[in-house]
């Protein structure tokens, strides 16, 4: 299972990929933007940055049980990213989880800086 995300900028494509990730996990319109969390990731190149970004969000969801639905990327260099992510704590009475996403993979992972397009396949 994977996704292709686009944006007006590469940063927006990264934000949209994150939205796509959470839309696989839970119905996005069931998630309220109640709290925010700053996320910072770094990597050697844009591909690894995408891998780390997705896996950072999976990690935060698993450990802190935070479901996100909006992502404001405040800084983006292609090797580092800073974002404010909005969402709320997982509440089993309101959120039916759809898919268990184990991880992003590097398999067929693509970052196209010209078309502002990213592609990632998840291990589910």
């Amino acid at each position: 299972m994977g996704l292709v995300a686009y944006g007006k900028s590469l940063a927006e494509a990264f934000a949209n990929a994150a939205y796509g990730l959470f839309s696989l996990i839970v119905e996005p319109n069931k998630v309220k933007e109640k709290e925010s969390r700053k996320v910072t990731v770094q990597a050697q190149d844009a591909e690894s940055l995408l891998f780390n970004w997705i896996n950072e969000l999976i990690y935060i969801f698993e450990v802190e049980r935070l479901l996100f639905k909006s992502f404001d990327i405040t800084e983006f260099t292609g090797q580092s990213l800073e974002a404010t992510c909005w969402g709320e704590k997982y509440d089993p009475s309101r959120h039916q989880l759809k898919t268990g996403v184990k991880s992003a993979t590097y398999h067929m992972l693509k970052v196209d800086g010209e078309k502002n397009r990213v592609q990632v396949i998840f291990d589910v």
Binding site: Q44, N55, K102, T105, D123
Partner: protein, 486 residues
């Protein structure tokens, strides 16, 4: 949809197909796929065979880049893949183990017959569902003291037994005794431990399950009897799960380490997910030590779950463990890399055998096979999909000779999870299974469709190839009567 694979496959015999190393520049050895002619169409539907060829690029690979008959498209490595590397100058790749490190299966026997448990099957499934935490977002009921996770990572199943989850004898009939030596918790990130602590003793989701099954065929009477499989109609219990978030995090952490290694050394690979480091490098050694921790966690996990399965069973039928005859036949893992001794042109050599969706299948008399099974060989369990049959096999000399002591691990997907969901709803799958007399418990009906029979290859054709090729022998077959789907 992935494009069809039209690469070269040379017929070796009825069950073996070779991808010659001339197929692609960079292959160090040939690829070899175990399959019947009838299975080739399915195999060519996606890029799994290309992945077999890609694995042949890895330094130090010996013999063939192998694919078991349940081969399907994975990430980087194919699922159903086996690759053995020389320890001296070869590499280790986290992608060759997979995200769910030591995902595996164990089978328990009982003294009960289907007729005896039938009136209470619903109660049994309710008890199993209640007592074994399962499903997305579930947390376990085990509370670890601060730092105790490190004990779990070093001792594996023995940690669980020492805590009162099961019996010491069960360690004898668990691959590696449920405790791989050389596990070093300092090589496991704090993040992995954070994910692992609340999830110990949980089944997880996806294709993980608990199954109540009934023996429906016995092919080798004496071999089966040695395992405690005595008669048709006898009730068996299966547990299929792995290392949960801890294993996924170890995989993530070390894939990143290996990707950096590849980049620093300017190594070109057909797929970054194949990223590796030499076994004899600090990165390779660190991954191996961390992977062993995750493997041990998975064995502790299955051991705890086994205890609750046993408790539930005894409770529902009002029998003691002894009366119920609940014994662990064996526990096998099917996502792992191991340093093993194999014959290489008449000489013993230490190899790092990656098994990703493949099961160890050591023969009778091998020192790593428990004394109890020294005469018959190591038991292997091949669970089918939810509505279908599962098989019990044993390892063979032939496996030792040609597949580094490995065989298949399951049915193998033919439909992606998403495609399976489009084709059938969870409700339809539930109805179909109930009409076959199978009781299902799940917290996530929607995802039931992902595991529909139609999503998998026919398990019988998969094990028949493994049997006919001689890399394992079919001993018995079971059919499900109740499933808790994670």
């Amino acid at each position: 949809m992935p494009e069809k694979w039209t690469g070269k496959l040379e017929k070796v015999d009825d069950y073996r197909w070779r991808i010659p190393k001339s197929y692609k520049s960079g292959m160090r050895v040939d690829g070899l796929i175990y399959a019947s002619e009838a299975m080739l169409d399915d195999i060519r539907q996606d890029r799994a065979a290309e992945q077999v060829a890609n694995v042949a690029f890895l330094p130090g690979i010996i013999g063939y880049s192998l694919a078991m008959p349940d081969i399907h498209w994975g990430y980087g490595f194919p699922i159903g893949g086996v690759a053995a590397m020389r320890v001296s100058d070869g590499v280790i790749s986290p992608g060759g183990v997979g995200f769910d490190i030591n995902c595996g299966v164990r089978m328990l026997r009982t003294n009960l017959l289907e007729a005896e448990i039938h009136p209470k099957i619903k109660q049994l499934m309710d008890a199993l569902y209640k007592n074994v935490p399962s499903g997305l977002g579930s947390e376990g009921k085990i509370r670890l003291r601060h730092g105790e996770i490190d004990q779990v990572l070093v001792k594996g199943a023995r940690w669980a037994v020492e805590k009162g989850f099961g019996h010491r004898e069960e360690l004898e009939t668990t691959e590696e005794h449920g405790e791989m030596a050389g596990a070093d918790p300092s090589k496991v990130s704090g993040r992995a431990k954070e994910r692992g602590v609340p999830q110990l003793g949980t089944l997880g989701s996806g294709n993980h399950f608990l199954e109540v099954a009934v023996v429906d065929q016995i092919y080798e009477k004496d071999t089966a009897k040695t395992m405690g499989i005595d008669q048709i109609g006898q009730v068996m219990l299966l547990v299929h799960c792995g290392s949960r978030g801890l294993g996924y995090q170890v995989a993530d952490d070390y894939i990143s380490v290996m990707v950096n290694f590849i980049k620093e050394h300017n190594i070109q690979l057909p797929d970054r997910q194949l990223a590796y480091a030499p076994l004899n490098s600090p990165q390779g050694q660190a991954y191996l030590a961390a992977m062993k921790c995750a493997a041990n966690y998975a064995w502790a996990n299955r051991q705890c779950i086994t205890h609750w399965v046993r408790e539930s069973f005894c409770q529902v039928f009002g029998k003691s463990e002894k009366e119920a005859g609940l014994e662990l036949i064996y526990d096998v893992c099917h996502n792992i890399a191991k340093i093993e001794e194999h014959d290489l042109n008449g000489r013993k050599a230490n190899l790092c055998v990656h098994r990703k969706g493949a099961t160890r299948a050591f023969p009778a008399g091998h020192p790593d096979v428990p004394a109890k099974y020294a005469r018959i060989g190591q038991p292997v369990f091949i669970p089918g999909d939810m509505g279908r049959l599962s098989y019990v096999l044993v390892g063979t000399e032939q496996a030792m000779k040609e597949s580094f002591g490995s065989t298949c691990h399951g049915a193998g997907r033919v439909k992606s999870r998403a495609a399976a969901k489009r084709a059938l709803t969870g409700q339809e799958v539930l109805k179909e299974l109930e009409s076959k007399g199978i009781t299902i418990k799940t917290g996530n009906l929607k995802d039931l469709a992902e595991e529909a029979s139609e999503a998998y290859k026919d398990i019988t054709s998969v094990v028949n190839v493994a049997h006919n090729a001689g890399i394992s022998r079919i001993v018995a077959r079971t059919k499900p009567i109740g499933v808790v789907k994670g």
